[in-house]
């Protein structure tokens, strides 16, 4: 009986995809100077978004003059751990939503001026809320009804595309740690977003990074905030589950 259990276990082990990688944050691929910049909240150029987000959290929006804080309460208590489990299925719309989309839906519900997907306000509130999960592991909840979204996200991840005909894993799985020109390719994990990217000289969301990557391989990117990018985001969160949230991260 015990032997049978063992062989069943072995069979399962051999059926697992080869090279199941240990998730590794982009932080570990960075130069020490960039790491130091992220580690110090006073040096971290993305940190102003946390302060800006907090101002917006308390600011009355829409005709009722209510703020996020009026309903939710203190952000550090009520939003703790939220970013670690997003994207989630939104009960109201039945759609998969990430934090940015959820913030848009909520401010719309308050009757406020609609926030553009990547408006400074959306990015600031996303950073504020993500920051409340800093140091907590990304831990998406994948109930059965989310499986189709996850599967589509994986398809997008694995699809070769663009003039350079590359899929995400061809670089970020097969060649993570190798040099592409002067840069080291990371695993392409999403645990530090929103990030301040030195190359951009400003902050950016997960979807801005997806867009940048797709443009680099000369592919037509999906829209930021599109269903496709949120599905890809869900897949990447699941792929990197267990990595600590680092928001606001700093990347080269």
């Amino acid at each position: 009986m015990r032997r049978r259990c063992l062989s069943a276990l072995l069979a399962i082990a051999f059926c697992l995809p080869v090279a199941a990688e240990e998730p590794r944050s982009g932080y570990s691929y960075m130069e020490p100077a960039t790491q130091a910049m992220q580690d110090d909240d006073f040096l971290n150029p993305g940190f102003f978004l946390v302060d800006e987000g907090l101002r917006l959290w308390r600011q009355p929006m829409g005709p009722t003059g209510q703020s996020c804080a009026d309903c939710h309460g203190p952000v550090d208590r009520e939003m703790k751990g939220v970013a670690a489990r997003y994207p989630v299925l939104d009960a109201g719309t039945g759609k998969l939503v990430n934090l940015e989309r959820k913030i848009q839906l909520e401010t719309a519900r308050m009757g406020a001026e609609p926030l553009a997907y990547e408006s400074p306000e959306t990015v600031a509130l996303t950073t504020l809320i993500s920051y409340q999960s800093r140091g907590m592991p990304m831990q998406p909840e994948i109930p059965p009804q989310l499986q189709p979204f996850l599967d589509r996200g994986r398809q997008i991840y694995e699809q070769r595309r663009g003039q350079l005909n590359l899929s995400c894993p061809q670089c970020h799985v097969d060649h993570a740690g190798d040099k592409l020109r002067g840069d080291v390719i990371s695993q392409g994990q999403v645990n530090a977003f929103p990030i301040y990217r030195l190359l951009w000289g400003e902050p950016g969301t997960r979807h801005r990074m997806f867009e940048w990557c797709m443009q680099s391989i000369r592919a037509r990117p999906f829209e930021r905030g599109s269903d496709e990018f949120i599905e890809l985001e869900l897949y990447l969160v699941q792929r990197g589950a267990g990595l600590m949230i680092e928001a606001p991260g700093v990347r080269r």
Partner: protein, 138 residues
Amino acid sequence: MPALALCFWLQGFGAASADGLAPLTGQPGDPARGEALLLDMRRVSCLICHEISTLDERDQGQIGPALDGVASRLGNMELRQRIVDARVINPDTIMPPYYSLTGLVDVADRYRGQTIYDAQEVEDVVAYLLTLTEEPNR
């Protein structure tokens, strides 16, 4: 007559065989132009992924094998095949197809219908790579 036409086609430009791909144009490649192309990083340079230690370029990649001495391992037809479309040799290769549009998905508008290099540029790069006969002294 059809047999003759087939023979002509087989000897024509860009004809594939087990050994690789025949020249794509009637004009021999220019190694100097090939080298200049390789050093132009905006043109999806080989150096993004491969190393050529004799070239004066600091940021060279390590994704593919180093190209030092590549001409002692591969002939012109084999080199050309790998540049034009390395998927013929390995369908899962990470190497982008420099002169093929086959199977491309969601190409950005700016590049749709265009190959990375044109035929003469492929010939120039092949001509340059054929000069890399020496393994480097490390």
